[in-house]
């Protein structure tokens, strides 16, 4: 259709000098904020929101969007270098990124992460340009039953993220689900497990759990590692850039991650963390290099970064075309538009087409800017590893405290982060993985909410999950994965048993 013409005029809008300038301001601020642990795009958008009042609505939204996806670029840097996720969604990048850095390949990991972020961003942009109306309809055909089924699928896939035993992985997923029940029950308004603490009424914040388990836990562990003489990490300059084989290995994960990320981004509510977790789990099943996942596989860095960046772009589809914000950051995007008298919704594409296409085109420009900005900085970031721990870690602790405090401007959240930090350290000691817990924690409340809503609407009839076509298909796929998983475990066990029998003979 006339998508190309529309995109062309969007490019013209996006190339307007003031739009270029504010796009750069946005992505620069976003990357910078993303690097800082605990301070996510939400805090950054809240900071620049007052500035957006003085801009044209189109320019304002281009700048705010830049902050939003810029943060995803920056988020992976601390994940790779220090095992401390800059944003919750980049905690999946820790799984392979940090082992890469430990083995001196931090440069390669950062390089691949930037390229994958770029690839994912472009895939997300193309999907948004081509499929916006279609994806808006997809989100509309997702009722509570469909949401429940897709989340169940994600959860089953996610229990495969763990690198320890399957049992430990499932235990961590359940721990996450249980943690997610703290707070007000959304269907009845009853308080659950708040132990009389008013701050727990709204549950535990995702950022607190991610920062505590990954960030603070890592810092506590490093105190011990440091006293026993394990010090700074080495940098292997001969392995600074990815090899040809690594380039080739990253291509498939970038494409798959971009596709999966685009889908989850377009569903309001699921978001980047789920996108990167599911993409990682899928990649771990299909990759020829799956044996090395968790030990520093480039694929394990490429896939979550591509997924979370494409999800970041497609998150704008429900926000703008349905007026349904998938996250707090997206709610602020809606707020920024409303203050200019523009109400996001089905009318936006028709009444403010120039704004929509200008934004889509700015994604292209913004992602190129981020790539140019990030690649030369890799050397600088890697050199950060040579800062002695005694300067580095107190700084990080302060940054985490600021980030966590900025969530609700509440000191209680800092104590809670410390609590999760100690929990994360203990989990590390006993070799439990924090990633499946985080995924269970993100998906649990959504799954419960949609399950109960679907049953409320069907007057308690569970057949609704099987009778509706999309939901039924998703349930069938989930069942298929479970059966396949059980069958492979069973076969492996029988083989090892017959092997041991033949050995004893």
């Amino acid at each position: 259709m006339d998508i190309l013409t529309a995109f062309g005029s969007g490019l013209a809008t996006a190339f307007h000098p003031s739009n270029l300038l504010y796009c750069f301001v946005g992505v620069f601020l976003g990357t910078f904020i993303g690097v800082l642990p605990g301070i996510g795009s939400m805090a950054a958008i809240a900071m620049i929101l007052p500035l957006s009042f003085y801009l044209e609505p189109g320019t304002a939204i281009i700048m705010i969007a830049g902050v939003y996806y810029g943060a995803e670029y920056g988020g992976s840097i601390a994940s790779i270098l220090m095992n401390i996720p800059g944003t919750p969604s980049s905690s999946i990048t820790c799984i392979d990124g940090y082992p890469m850095a430990r083995s001196g390949r931090a440069g390669v990991a950062l390089f691949v992460s930037s390229i994958a972020s770029f690839g994912g961003g472009i895939i997300g942009m193309v999907v948004m340009a081509l499929l916006s109306p279609g994806l808006a309809n997809l989100a509309l055909s997702f009722g509570p039953a469909e949401y429940f089924s897709v989340i169940l699928l994600g959860l089953i896939a996610a229990s495969a993220v763990s690198n320890g035993g399957a049992l430990k992985g499932i235990a961590m997923v359940f721990a996450g689900l249980m943690l997610a029940t703290v707070g007000v029950d959304l269907t009845t308004g009853d308080l659950r497990f708040t132990m009389g603490v008013p701050e727990l009424r709204d549950g535990v914040n995702l950022v607190i759990v991610a920062m505590g388990l990954f960030g603070v836990g890592e810092l506590i562990a490093s105190i011990r590692a440091n006293s026993s003489g394990q010090g700074r990490q080495t940098i292997d300059y001969s392995q600074f850039y990815p090899t040809r084989a690594e380039w080739r290995a990253s291509l498939g994960p970038i494409l798959r991650g971009g596709g999966i990320g685009s889908f989850f981004g377009a569903l309001p509510g699921t978001g980047q963390t789920v996108a990167s977790a599911v993409a990682y789990a899928v990649e771990k099943k299909v990759s020829p290099n799956r044996a090395n996942f968790g030990k520093g596989a480039v694929e394990g860095v490429a896939v979550p970064e591509s997924a979370n960046n494409s999800a970041t772009q497609t998150a704008f589809i429900p926000t703008l075309t349905l007026g349904v914000p998938g996250s707090a950051s997206m709610a602020m995007v809606i707020g920024a538009l409303m203050i200019h008298g523009i109400t996001p919704g089905p009318r936006l594409l028709v009444e403010h087409g120039d704004l929509f296409w200008g934004l889509v085109a700015s994604f292209l420009i913004g992602n190129v800017m981020l790539l140019i900005l990030n690649i030369p900085l890799i050397g600088l970031w890697v050199r950060l590893l040579q800062i002695p721990y005694r300067y580095m870690y107190p700084t990080i602790i302060v940054l985490i405290c600021i980030g966590v405090y900025s969530l609700n401007n509440n000191v209680f959240d800092i104590w809670l982060t410390l609590f999760f930090g100690i929990a994360g350290y203990l989990m590390r000691l006993f070799r439990f993985e924090p990633a499946p817990l985080l995924i269970g924690f993100v998906l649990g409340p959504m799954m419960e909410e949609q399950l109960r809503r679907a049953l409320l609407l069907s007057r308690g009839d569970p057949m609704v999950f099987i009778e509706r076509p999309i939901s039924g298909t998703l349930i069938a796929v989930t069942a298929g994965i479970l059966v396949y998983g059980l069958w492979t475990t069973f076969r492996a066990r029988r083989r090892s048993r017959s092997a041991s029998i033949s050995m004893s003979e």
Binding site: V184, T187, G189, R347, E449, L457
Partner: protein, 327 residues
């Protein structure tokens, strides 16, 4: 639509202008009241109506009167975190909050105990405005009046979406059930946007939300607002009849005001109120408030204080009826 919009805006500006002139007999003059920047605490995360009102105020307090102001979002525990915080600050005019139903009229009945006193703990300074929710049904249902809705609801059970347990739309839903003598199925969501999405997708039969904010949906015939719970017909959506004129006594006002800690000097409070009203009378602010679906109304400090006190009484039976007490 544009024409009506600008007409409405200019009319509102005219009215506000006239009112500003008639109010100018008061002692205080609008202007800066402290050399320090003022923090306007908001009970919700950035992006909602309270937040947008706070940001509009902050912007024009600075640009028009040189009074620096920053917005400080302290969400949590149904607004009580923010209210508790503000109650503990010095009454020097540097900490104010956007007051609304959640911590001031709903929480006192909903919660067993509160760390603050909604009346004695605060100086209620300036009323800003209010919006009212209404009942939306599907256009193809053929329902256009409350009487037809009752008949339909008695025939087959009707589902309604709200923006959460204990939210204003939930409380209205339960009040409607009680007043109309029907039983509907409540389906709570997190905020009105996802509920409206499921309504559009055909999952829900009806939903309750602020009427003026959904004027686009009404115009596009995507939803029919059969009644609004306002005292009288609402500016911006004059075609929507009230519950009262259809014979049902249901009035719910979702108000916002400017409130500070107890003990703010009366003269300073009066300056804050005058300045706030001057900001609210600016044509740009009048237009933005209309977009947000808020009907602004000047009110004296005493009247606003009485208003909050009466509202606690108005909400009490509604909250008990909704069954969210002690939760």
């Amino acid at each position: 639509m544009k024409h009506f919009g600008s007409f409405r805006t200019s009319l509102a500006a005219l009215t506000a202008g006239t009112l500003a002139v008639s109010m100018s007999t008061a002692v205080a003059e609008p202007g800066s009241w402290t050399g320090e920047p003022v923090r306007i605490v908001v009970t919700f995360p950035p992006g909602g109506t309270s937040d947008l009102v706070a940001r509009l105020l902050a912007k024009y307090l600075d640009s028009e009167f040189g009074q620096k102001a920053v917005v400080d979002n302290r969400p949590g525990a149904a607004g009580t975190v923010a209210a508790d915080y503000v109650a503990q600050q010095d009454p020097d005019g540097t900490t104010l909050m956007i007051a609304n139903n959640a911590p001031f009229t709903i929480a006192p009945t909903q919660f067993e105990s509160l760390p603050y006193d909604p009346m004695a703990g605060f100086t209620h300074i300036a009323f800003i405005g209010s919006s009212s929710p209404g009942l939306f049904v599907k256009p193809d249902s053929g329902i256009t009046t409350v009487a037809e809705f009752i008949a339909a609801a008695k025939e087959t059970p009707v589902t309604y979406g709200s923006s959460g347990v204990g939210s204003i739309s939930h409380i209205l839903g339960e009040a409607v059930d009680g007043e109309l003598g029907i039983e509907t199925i409540h389906v709570p969501y997190q905020g009105s946007a996802p509920a409206i999405q499921d309504f559009r997708a055909g999952v829900l039969d009806t939903f309750y939300d602020m009427v003026a904010q959904n004027s686009d949906m009404i115009e596009d015939r995507e939803a029919v607002a059969i009644a609004i719970a306002a005292p009288e017909r609402f500016p911006g959506v004059p075609e929507v009849p009230t519950f009262a004129e259809q014979g049902y006594d249901i009035v719910i006002e979702n108000w916002v005001g400017l409130t500070g800690p107890a003990g703010i000097d009366p003269a300073m409070a009066e300056t804050i109120r005058e300045t706030t009203e001057a900001v609210l009378a600016l044509p740009e602010v009048v237009a933005s408030m209309a977009d947000l679906g808020i009907n602004t109304k000047p009110m004296s400090g005493e009247d606003y204080t009485t208003f909050v006190e009466t509202q606690i009484g108005v909400w009490e039976p509604l909250i008990i009826a909704a069954g969210i007490q002690g939760k």
